[in-house]
Subunit: 207 residues, 2 copies
DNA sequence: TAATTATGGTATTTGATAGTACCATTGTTG
DNA sequence: CAACAATGGTACTATCAAATACCATAATTA
């Protein structure tokens, strides 16, 4: 094996990620990838079999990165309200991040050609975020802070309120960049409303 | 003018709608449109100037249809909980309708080529639905049924809870068809939670 | 060093499609 | 009926891109 194989292939994936996710599958030709990344067509076909293969590999690689970005520790410390707010801000910031939005757009655009990628993004994205919140809610219920009949359902409601309309707006509008304060305000308001619904006496009395 | 001009052009738009929205802009060639709709390339270029022109015209036509589908009377009658539930079910049913989902996908896919269409969809879709709910909430506040500090914010939260994760799941997953009961359950649960947050005594005592 | 393998780079093949040109035909209007 | 405008249909041009073939070269191994 030559020396810089891995480095070169990493560069290849990096360039492919940037191009595919920024411009979409059909807008990118292999010539563009090669022009930026170096290497040859031959190498791409040896490694990935086809343009489709390269695309799938890059999307999955990018997806992993984003999941890392959003993931949280299993058990955060602090006041429930603070913790929910903190998790929420990280979550919504990750979701509305331009790179994430671009990924969503590209996946949605190619859903008919690559349905399995859509499924994967759904599992690793939305479902995962619901799970994180749900787990924490269950913890809070056990601790007696909250009284929730159905934590899974409640988690979805909370996440959707936190996300607010920011995700769909980001997907549809290229102009309106999501601002940090918007995220914070949205999340705080959501957490606030949420606790109003489910807080037990022990929590609502603390102030 | 020939007799069936409008009829023929309507057929042309119908076919274009079906094809573009089902398959996306790039997947559809004018030959496919002509093969199904009849007529000629010449006519398309006379009417719409280009493939892009035809695309924009079809998307806008379809968008109008969907807005009709979702729109509600200004003032619905009945118990607030019932009314909110009824509006919500109609809303979410419209949003998760396969045709609507297909439109969203196509618009999102072409957002870089046609950003103005994305903006329009955002205005006519999400923003419009928030406005409908917000107006009704303000009415309820005036009537003394609810006590809400910020109706616009609250409307967004309610809509997002009602929509739940159904929209994003529909966008990402081709397999999982949204079921009627899912919608109903989601909306009812959302309305329920929402009223728990904002209902005044007069409403919460009625049961 | 020699043999082997993978790679870079380029040229070629193949296929698709947007847009234009042209002409015969159909429908419209005076 | 005659002149005119719009349409259908086909052929043509130009472009672009995926995939393959080929050869010289760089790296690997015996």
């Amino acid at each position: 094996m030559p020396k810089g194989v891995e480095k070169r292939n990493a560069a290849l994936l990096d360039v492919a990620k940037e191009l595919f996710i920024e411009k979409g599958y059909k807008e990118v030709s292999l010539d563009m990838v090669i022009a930026r990344a170096g290497g040859s067509r031959r190498n791409i076909y040896n490694r990935f079999g086809s343009k489709k293969g390269l695309f799938i590999a890059t999307i999955e690689a990018r997806l992993d990165e984003i999941v890392q970005l959003i993931s949280t520790e299993d058990r955060e410390k602090g006041d429930p309200e603070e913790v929910l707010t903190r998790i929420g801000i990280r979550l919504v910031t990750g979701i509305t991040n331009p790179g994430t939005i671009a990924l969503f757009r590209t996946v949605i655009a190619e859903i008919n050609n690559f349905p399995e990628i859509g499924e994967k993004l759904y599992q690793q994205g939305p479902l995962r975020s619901y799970k994180v919140i749900s787990n924490y809610l269950k913890h809070l219920v056990k601790q007696g802070y909250l009284s929730i009949p159905d934590c899974d359902q409640a988690a979805i409601q909370l996440v959707e309120m936190m996300r607010g309309h920011l995700q769909i707006r980001s997907l549809l509008c290229t102009e309106q960049q999501v601002k940090k304060v918007e995220i914070e305000q949205n999340v705080k308001s959501a957490v606030n409303s949420f606790l109003k619904m489910y807080a037990t006496e022990s929590l609502s009395n603390r102030e």
